[in-house]
């Protein structure tokens, strides 16, 4: 088992994808933290006509440090898709299953490696966001670490990235064409889901399910500021973690089951 996990890590770190992603996630963390650090602390930052944002000092800080998470989880979703999709595409799945023929074990190795990779990228992202965010907040005379709750948020953002990678793994197995899987996965998470959330928030019965969407669950996990004036009650941080975890478990169990039955030809 340990050797299969090691092999998955090597697979990931021996192509150029990983450092391209690393740069992307670092830059996203830094840039978004800088921007939100400035915007959320401006007295007149919300005069642009957008919804009024409200939150405690801790929520503001949480939002700054996890501002790049939206880009981060899309990247990890892509990483998860590619960890299996590129195996289908380049037919390396054959070599993988020849060296680890017990398929549940092979998939478990991918799952564990992806959680690890999510954590690594999370750290890279935090490196960017916490350094830049803390500087901006300090310049604004705001305590960059108002409570220990911030640490919980930082830790949960690592977990969120790992879970999104597992969602990607499931999507990559559900849609074996890698390019299609990335388009569908990112399209749903980035465009369709926010649109649905926005639209359904105005429908009384449907507003209840909006917090359970994966992106909204992710945002609850890191307990940032929320937009005012919406009739949506977002989940508590642990609720968000459970919901996102449920998506990840469901998709990776499905992926493992599907892979164990597949003919690899």
């Amino acid at each position: 088992m340990g050797s299969a996990i090691k092999s998955e890590f090597r697979k990931f770190f021996t192509t150029r994808l990983w450092w391209g992603m690393a740069i992307g996630i670092f830059v996203a963390g830094a840039v978004f933290a800088g921007f939100f650090g400035w915007a959320l602390t401006s007295e007149n930052g919300n005069t642009g006509g957008g919804p009024q944002l409200e939150g405690t000092a801790t929520q503001v800080v949480n939002s700054v440090y996890t501002a790049g998470l939206g880009v981060g989880y899309l990247l990890l979703l892509t990483v998860g898709i590619m960890q299996i999709g590129s195996e289908y595409r380049h037919k390396t799945i054959t070599a993988t299953l020849l060296s680890t023929p017990k398929r549940v074990q092979a998939m478990l190795a991918k799952i564990i490696a992806l959680l690890g990779i999510g954590g690594v990228y999370g750290l890279i992202s935090l490196l960017g966001s916490v350094s830049v965010g803390a500087i901006v907040l300090t310049l604004r005379d705001i305590d960059p670490f108002p409570s220990t709750e911030v640490l919980r948020t930082l830790a949960l953002s690592l977990l969120a990235l790992g879970l999104w990678a597992l969602i990607g793994l499931g999507v990559g197995i559900l849609i074996p064409n890698q390019v299609a899987a990335i388009l569908v996965g990112v399209g749903v998470a980035w465009i369709i889901e926010p649109l649905l959330s926005f639209g359904l928030a105005f429908v009384e019965w449907a507003a209840k399910i909006v917090p359970y969407f994966p992106s909204n669950a992710t945002n609850s996990m890191v307990s940032g500021v929320t937009a005012q004036g919406q009739d949506v009650d977002f989940l508590p941080w642990w609720g968000g973690a459970l919901v996102l975890g449920a998506y990840a478990v469901a998709l990776s169990v499905f992926g493992t089951w599907r892979t164990s039955r597949q003919d690899i030809s």
Binding site: S3, A4, K6, S7, R10, K11, T14, T15, R16, L17, S86, H90, K91, T92, T94, A95, T96, L97, L98, S99, T100, P101, K102, R261, D263, I264, S265
Partner: protein, 325 residues
């Protein structure tokens, strides 16, 4: 490999193996076995079901029925598969953005093998420098060598190669031949598939020939080549056949007025013909049973393929009767 330890190969046993894709039967009640210390050619025209069979043997495709085992075990149940069975299935199984060496390092990690094995194998297959380039740039021959290196990483007892000669130049094929012979002398079990008889004929000890997913012929190469005989052409084959019978040489009519005499003694055939007063137009060895059989299969006629149990019956291969196991 310096002072290679004697490894004992394992026995491959395929029994009543069947695979259907929808209503199409790709492999049909196939049974054969492969012995240690020998090179076995797994032959059949394109689409015969070779790759499907090998993939079932390697646990990649689920058989519809039947079994394929290595020393009595399913591949999936092996605890350390890479040190029991090494295989190279298709020459395209590399990520184009990963170097050949890294590809092997990924596999070495999965097999729990030392990283130094990677460089040993690159040396052995003659690609240590090229393997530092990304695999997307590799030639077919290079891919084949890298695939072979991957198969041998765990110093396996059994080697399964699917069309390993594909894309190799004649020099590469010669190299492969020597390489496989060397491995087989170490006692390994080697199964090599090919759709070209000529590619493997000089390499293999045993053959298993399939067509349309079914067994056509299997056995030792020396047996299947047929009992050595002589082809003779003359003005009156019947009369020569009679004369030969008197000299205790059986014969049968071949194609195109040929007579096939069951002897290798060309001098005897010539003497008999002279005594009978018959001219000799042609006199040569006949060893082409297998080629004729294969030719027939690949020309797509496949007319006499009965069920797997009965040997193929046709003029061209009449010498094969009894050679089936």
């Amino acid at each position: 490999m310096t002072a290679a330890p004697m490894t004992t190969g394992a026995r491959i046993e395929v029994r009543d193996l069947t695979k259907t894709f929808g209503s199409f039967t790709a492999v049909d009640q196939l049974s054969f076995h492969v012995e240690p210390g020998r090179i076995t050619g797994f032959l059949g025209p394109n689409g015969a079901g070779k790759t499907t069979t090998l993939r079932m043997l390697l646990g990649l495709i689920h058989p519809t029925s039947g079994s394929a085992t290595i020393d009595g075990q399913n591949y999936r149940d092996l605890d350390h598969p890479s040190s029991v069975v090494g295989s190279a299935l298709e020459a395209t199984n590399f990520h184009p953005g990963r170097t050949g060496r890294d590809h092997l390092r990924v596999l070495a990690a999965a097999g729990g093998l030392r990283d130094s094995r990677v460089d040993e194998l690159l040396e052995l297959t003659g690609i240590p420098a090229a393997a530092r380039k990304r695999a997307g740039e590799y030639s077919m021959g290079m891919r084949q060598r890298l695939g072979l290196a991957a198969a041998l990483l765990g110093d396996p007892r059994v080697l399964i190669l699917d069309e390993p000669a594909n894309g190799l130049d004649p020099e590469g094929i010669r190299w492969l031949r020597g390489f496989l012979r060397h491995l087989s002398n170490e006692g390994k079990t080697i199964l090599v598939s090919s759709h070209l008889l000529q590619e493997v004929e000089a390499t293999v000890d045993d053959v298993v020939i399939i067509a349309n997913g079914r067994m056509v012929k299997s056995g030792a190469m020396s047996d299947l080549h047929g009992s050595p005989s002589t082809i003779v052409r003359t003005s009156n084959p019947d009369q020569l056949a009679g004369a030969l019978r008197v000299a205790d040489v059986m014969s049968s009519p071949g194609t195109d007025g040929e007579l096939i005499a069951e002897t290798t003694d060309k001098r005897l055939v010539g003497d008999v013909a002279l005594r009978a007063g018959l001219p000799i137009w042609e006199l040569r060895d006949r060893k082409a049973d297998l080629e004729a059989l294969f030719f027939e299969l690949t020309e797509g006629t496949n007319r006499n393929l009965g069920d797997g149990a009965s040997p193929v019956e046709s003029d061209a291969i009449s010498g094969l009767e009894g050679a089936n196991e």
